[in-house]
């Protein structure tokens, strides 16, 4: 396959450029449109002939977002909540996934089925009972409520992905470590874990994205605007009479920056991680 590519004809070359361009336009155009709108005023956003770049660049949308809506607070809240939830979910998930991948115990199958089931239930169904539980625990209107909810909802997916990664690590590696006298825990920590660091990274990124963009629970568990997260803050821009398209677009762009940075910085780990685990599914 590599050889055939190396001896590519000019035609193939051209086609490839076309495919790449179409793909880039298709994926990026809506994002660009969001960016474009974030610098326009309302009249220009809805002008008869759409403008491909703002004729009158305005920063007002961004100003509204920060000065009137305190968007920076929402960004910080989201960052804190998503980071903590991700870290814990991935940590707990890794421990559980290792045991599920390597060991046989009573209820193993049941646990696996349960994990799948919690993922299949629509989150809407859990709102009332979870709200009641959080209320009884005195956790409503705290970040902890959201952190707990996000751990619970991301754990199944995390365990699931991570089982795949652990399955990829050959048994023999562990066996030889054991023969050398390592305890099971030492084997886990020193032999297995280092090998799946990329997998953990990939799982963490997926979890983070989900927690970062979650809306339903963020809306319901938090009553104080001081504690609200990015998606909730953005929803406040759908007002009774108008959707504030400008600030909404600006908020979308700003909200994406932290994740884009995260993904970009961790890209190699991320891809390597997926390479490790996805094959076994």
């Amino acid at each position: 396959m590599k050889k055939s590519i190396q001896s590519k004809s000019k035609m193939k070359h051209v086609i490839r450029y076309i495919v790449v361009s179409i793909l880039l336009i298709w994926s990026l155009f809506p994002v660009y449109w969001m960016l474009n709108n974030s610098f326009k005023n309302r009249i220009e956003q809805f002008s008869d002939t759409p403008t491909f770049y703002p004729n009158q660049v305005t920063l007002e949308n961004y100003m509204t977002l920060f000065l009137e809506l305190g968007f920076h607070k929402a960004l910080l809240n989201s960052l804190l909540i998503a980071t903590v939830a991700t870290t814990i979910a991935v940590f707990i998930g890794a421990l559980a996934a290792y045991s599920l991948s390597r060991y046989r115990f009573i209820g193993r199958k049941g646990l696996l089925v349960w994990i799948l089931l919690t993922r299949i239930f629509p989150p809407v169904t859990f709102v009332i009972p979870l709200y009641e539980m959080m209320g009884n625990a005195g956790l409503l209107n705290t970040r902890i409520a959201l952190i707990l909810a996000y751990i619970a909802f991301n754990l199944p997916f995390a365990i699931w992905l991570l089982i795949g990664f652990f399955n990829e690590v050959p048994f023999e590696l562990e066996e030889s470590a054991m023969i050398d006298g390592a305890s099971p825990f030492q084997t886990f920590r020193k032999v297995v874990l280092p090998l799946i660091i990329p997998g953990i990274g990939a799982t963490a990124i997926f979890t983070f994205i989900t927690a970062w963009n979650e809306f339903l629970y963020a809306m319901i568990f938090i009553q104080s605007p001081e504690l609200s997260t990015v998606p909730v803050a953005l929803s406040g821009l759908i007002t009774e009479y108008l959707v504030l398209w400008g600030p909404m677009s600006a908020g979308g762009i700003l909200s994406a920056i932290p994740i884009v940075l995260l993904v970009y910085l961790m890209q190699d780990t991320f891809i390597k991680g997926l390479t490790l685990g996805a094959v076994k599914g």
Binding site: I43, L80, V84, Y131, P194, S224, L242
Partner: protein, 436 residues
């Protein structure tokens, strides 16, 4: 190799625990503060309290956030305004009260929710705070909405934003074609067809056709103008009567004069097509006026006039759509909340909020305030419309009635069903809902 990995691992764990601990500390200390403040109020109401308001996001919540600063200064109390989208506001309030969480001290209530909220006993009876009833300065139609049962019972909520639907039309076009401002729906249709045929860039009438609440709010004025009644005195639905059919026929004709895509229009699209000069007429809420005359957002500044909703076989019937402010029964600061309620609905505060762009006051004296009338040229017409307005049917099933009826109206509008067939189906399903 292993050593560095191990350091990373340990570092990670430390980081986690650190973040968790700080998160816990922050959260628990803040909730601790609330606890103590709640207890304090029970002992002595002079201690500062923290009030949390569940509000509908938009210009009124913005204005509210502004005015409470003044209240905070005067009283030392703290007021949080939590602004939410429409559906989320209702679900959040219901969850809060039903679970006795007591997070909210005041909640904004869309007036059709009142029967439902009353039946669920979500609100505090305010009669002891207003022993002589609400001031007679309040528009009577608005005050009636906050009473349970409607108009006659105890006061459970105070009218806060006095919206009423009005008819918006392009006065410059009326003058251009030298006609009288439309008075009946027949006039509207005739004018709309003229506009559609003669004008290049402008359509006739824009309707708000999105399924559910939007289409129902938009169709109801026609339905009433043709003499329709949603529920008869036995609470039986009557949406497939002759009035319903005629109103829907007119509605379909009006659709033809409007821009394409009205089947999914909500208020934002209506506002956009009006402010961009794309349509000549529509029905809208008065709070949009500030947008219509806002140079930054509008191409039609000064060109749009407002009048009462057109009539047809019956008198003009504008739909009232007030936001009320009530105190959930689970509030821990009922006294302080009631004091705030009185302050925020006073004539002075309402005037202040109106200047800040909240839109529609609920007191007659505010509508007649010369300073405001000068700034808001439509106030006299708006007050008149409000005083002659009609409320949506008072039933605790309204949300479901509206959603279901709106679904069939939308199906008719989109051509999925015939008018008669669709309305018959709607009526049948509404019967089932109301019989429950």
């Amino acid at each position: 190799m292993y050593k560095t990995k191990r350091t990373v691992f340990i570092f990670l764990i430390l980081l986690i625990s650190l973040i968790v601990l700080t998160a816990c500390n922050k959260a628990s200390s803040s909730s601790g503060d609330e606890e103590t403040s709640k207890e304090d109020t029970k002992e002595a109401s002079t201690e500062p309290v923290e009030l949390t308001i569940a509000a509908r996001a938009g210009s009124m919540a913005d204005a509210l956030t502004e005015v409470v600063k003044q209240y905070e200064e005067e009283t030392g109390n703290k007021v949080n305004v939590n602004a939410m989208p429409y559906d989320n506001l209702k679900e959040t309030v219901v969850l809060d009260v039903r679970n006795n969480s007591g997070a909210f001290d005041l909640v904004m209530i869309d007036d059709p929710w009142m029967p439902e909220f009353a039946e669920g006993e979500l609100l505090t009876n305010l009669d002891s705070y207003f022993p002589d009833g609400l001031a007679s300065d309040f528009v009577q139609k608005s005050a009636a909405l906050g009473k349970v049962p409607y108009e006659t019972g105890s006061t459970y909520a105070v009218p806060f934003i006095g919206n009423v639907q009005m008819f918006f039309y392009r006065n410059d076009l009326v003058e251009k074609y030298d006609i009288d401002a439309p008075q009946t729906w027949d006039d509207v249709l005739a004018f709309a067809e003229t506009i559609k045929d003669e004008e290049q860039e402008t359509f006739g009438y824009a309707l708000r056709g999105q399924r559910g609440n939007p289409i129902v709010s938009n169709y109801l004025p026609l339905f009433w103008a043709y003499g329709g009644t949603v529920l008869d005195e036995n609470m039986k639905p009557q949406v497939n009567t002759e009035a319903g059919v005629k109103a829907m026929e007119m509605y379909m004709k009006l659709k033809e004069t409007g821009p394409k895509g009205v089947e999914t229009f909500d208020s934002d699209q209506i506002a956009t097509s009006l402010t961009q000069g794309q349509v000549a007429m529509t029905i809208a809420w008065p709070s949009w006026v500030s947008e219509v005359d806002n140079k930054e957002n509008s191409n039609v500044v000064g060109k749009v006039n407002f009048s009462a909703v057109p009539s047809q076989e019956s008198d003009a019937a504008a739909m009232i759509g007030n936001w009320l402010l009530g105190i959930p029964r689970t509030s821990q600061n009922t006294d302080a909340a009631a004091a705030f309620l009185e302050w925020v609905t006073s004539a002075e505060t309402q005037k202040e909020m109106t200047i800040l762009g909240a839109g529609a006051p609920t007191r007659v004296s505010v509508y007649e305030d010369p300073e405001l009338v000068e700034q808001y040229r439509h106030f006299p017409a708006q007050l008149e419309a409000l005083q002659n307005s009609v409320a949506r049917p008072r039933t605790s099933k309204w949300s479901q009635v509206e959603d279901t009826w709106g679904m069939y109206l939308s199906q008719i509008l989109a051509g999925q069903l015939d008018i008669q067939e669709g309305l018959d189906k709607a009526n049948e399903e509404l019967e089932g809902i109301l019989a429950k």
